[in-house]
């Protein structure tokens, strides 16, 4: 930075100044995704999601166990059709693993920037706080969705590679053709996104409020576990349909013949009741909060 260095970019003169074009939420969102792609933590979550189906398939492949008498119809189907694997994995991962992975990013996405002082860096550019919040919330949800579909894709590929691309028996006992079953697998994951994105929304709120990544991640997962425990307490059956954790099973409506849309519609409006206030509260807190870190 010597005196010999080139002159700094000149400030625009008052007469020549035109209103600068300001970036959109989409621009901020794209950069949030680029930041996620550049962080090791992102891949840690993906690794967890990828490893579990792989381990499951390898173990099952080695033992070639028959699942006669198992609780789940898909568990008994496991070695008959590779498409049973992603459905079974969804059953296993819905309550804890995928919410954990979603919380890893959602709980960290604002608190981490606050702790590292980079929040002040981006908030002194030409983007409003609302844009930053929206982009971060969208990025956290994108990550959660990517994790869910990655898990489904890996489980499908591994299952089909091991046991073939065959028809599947639905929860109603009817046979579903392999192509239709494949479509249902991914549709089921899409329905599962409703409560999963709700978990991410809660994570974003806690990340905004706590300003502490670890606290926000733990609190998000803690909330999911707490609701699951509450749902298991005898005498509280009346509130069970309104608990977030109960919505994790709404996707099963798709695997019935005919499709049972009731749990899916219930999940959609109920999750909106959890997610929208969480996002609104996070947004309002973020708009007015002091950025004093770093």
């Amino acid at each position: 930075m010597s005196a010999a260095a080139g002159a700094a970019p000149a400030a625009p003169s008052a007469g020549a100044r035109v209103r600068p074009r300001r970036p959109s939420v989409l621009t901020v969102y794209r950069w949030e995704l680029r930041k996620l792609r550049s962080q090791k933590r992102t891949y840690l979550g993906f690794a967890l999601i990828v490893l579990l189906p792989l381990i499951f398939v390898i173990v099952e492949h080695i033992h070639q166990r028959q699942h006669r008498g198992a609780n789940s119809v898909f568990a008994s189907e496991i070695t008959r059709s590779g498409l049973a694997t992603p459905v079974l994995m969804l059953t296993f991962l819905v309550l804890f693993m995928l919410p954990l992975v979603a919380a890893l990013v959602a709980g960290d996405i604002l608190a981490n920037e606050d702790g590292n002082g980079t929040l002040k860096t981006i908030l002194t550019r030409s983007v409003d706080r609302g844009q930053v919040f929206a982009a971060k919330a969208l990025a956290a949800m994108t990550y959660a969705a990517a994790a869910a579909f990655l898990s489904a894709a890996v489980a499908t590929v591994a299952g089909v590679a091991s046991w073939g691309f065959h028809s599947l028996i639905s929860l109603s006992g009817t046979t579903v053709s392999a192509p239709e079953a494949l479509l249902l697998v991914f549709a089921a994951n899409a329905v599962y996104l409703i409560p999963l994105l709700t978990v991410a929304s809660i994570g974003v709120l806690l990340s905004t409020v706590t300003r502490n990544s670890a606290a926000a991640v733990v609190a998000t997962i803690g909330a999911v576990i707490l609701l699951d425990i509450v749902s298991a307490i005898p005498g509280l059956e009346g509130i069970r349909p309104y608990l977030l954790t109960q919505q994790f099973e709404a996707w099963q409506g798709l695997l019935r013949t005919p499709t049972d849309w009731t749990p899916i519609a219930h999940s959609a409006w109920l999750c909106a009741l959890y997610a929208l206030p969480a996002l609104l509260a996070g947004y309002l807190v973020f708009l007015r909060r002091d950025v004093a870190g770093g």
Partner: protein
């Protein structure tokens, strides 16, 4: 944004954290073209004030406007034409310097990405632009902070301790860069602990202590009026010392290596020279020696700290409305 509006105008700016008063009714006036020094001891409220100016924290009372726009009301639009950093500039350590600047340019819009090579060259980081910022030294990060600010082609540059942690060569280069930016017409608001740096670069200053402005105005006025020293050599220094010590308005008189040293206001020195003539003492030399900014800074901050309602010796009356109206009950507590 009004083109004629002041780059920075703060009125009655207050920041409270529960019972702690970090900033106590600060008024600031940074005019276009100023290189404005913002001085004060640690915890005086400088950084808190700058954070409020940049819209990072919300004032408890009062307003601050950048080119006529209040960040609380206008959000990011208030920062058009404004750039800078508070405390150390922060970047994403897992991204390279170039990627960090690309990100910030994307958040700036307005073609900022086309200036990345240019600003990297200005701060001489081009050879290291592909390296991750996590491996950068403190000085390199400071320079990257300047580069990030220049991306916005600012008309107002707010810099909080830009030379902190730099080696002497880095400090010299930073001063040189700030001088060049000022020559290009960029208004600079510079918070610094480096008093020689401020003395060298700034034309106007605000000195804050315990959350209040104890002086705001031209640095030259402060130095000229604020307790200047004089060297006096007469035909009879012993008698002249006696006359000076008994002369009203002379705050201090003592023998020095080459004659006498006096502390007095300009008008009192004139009267002293007449008094010496009446006593038959010839004045051989009477030389003003302006007080350094460091002298004045300590006088203002330490004396203001001792008694908030008393004007510090040698400080122009009326220059410090905040100090004049403050009461000990409203003394701010230090906030880092």
């Amino acid at each position: 944004m009004s083109d004629d509006a002041q780059p920075v105008r703060a009125r009655g700016l207050v920041k409270r954290y529960d019972d702690v008063l970090a900033v106590d009714h600060i008024d600031l006036n940074v005019h276009a073209g100023d290189v404005y020094g913002f001085l004060g001891p640690n915890g005086a409220g400088k950084t808190t004030t700058l954070r409020m100016a940049l819209g990072l924290i919300m004032p408890s009372e009062g307003t601050v406007e950048l080119f006529g726009r209040d960040p609380v009301r206008y959000g990011a639009r208030a920062l058009e034409g404004v750039a800078g950093f508070v405390e150390a500039p922060r970047f994403y350590p897992y991204l390279s310097a170039r990627k960090n600047l690309e990100l910030l340019a994307a958040l700036d819009g307005d073609g900022a990405s086309a200036r990345i090579d240019e600003v990297l060259a200005v701060v001489e980081l081009t050879p290291r632009a592909a390296h991750k910022v996590g491996g950068y030294s403190h000085g390199m990060r400071q320079r990257l902070g300047i580069a990030a600010a220049l991306l916005r082609r600012p008309r107002l540059l707010i810099l909080d301790e830009p030379a902190t942690g730099l080696d002497p060569a880095g400090m010299r280069d930073m001063r040189e860069l700030i001088r060049r930016l000022a020559e290009q017409g960029i208004t600079v608001l510079l918070s610094s602990h480096q008093l020689p740096e401020v003395q060298e670069l700034c034309d106007r200053v605000a000195i804050v202590d315990a959350g209040r402005v104890v002086y705001e105005g031209a640095l030259a006025d402060l130095r000229r009026q604020g307790g200047a020293s004089y060297r006096l050599h007469t035909t009879d220094d012993a008698r002249a010392l006696h006359v000076a010590r008994n002369h009203p308005g002379v705050e201090h008189a003592a023998e020095g290596e080459h004659g006498l040293v006096l502390h007095a206001h300009e008008r009192d020195v004139g009267e002293l020279s007449l008094a010496l003539a009446r006593e038959g003492i010839g004045v051989l030399a009477l030389t003003p020696e302006l007080a350094t900014l460091e002298d004045l800074f300590f006088r203002l901050t330490e004396d203001a700290g001792a008694d908030a309602t008393t004007q510090a010796p040698g400080v122009p009356t009326g220059a410090t409305p905040a100090a004049a109206t403050a009461t000990p009950a409203t003394r701010a507590v230090e906030i880092a």
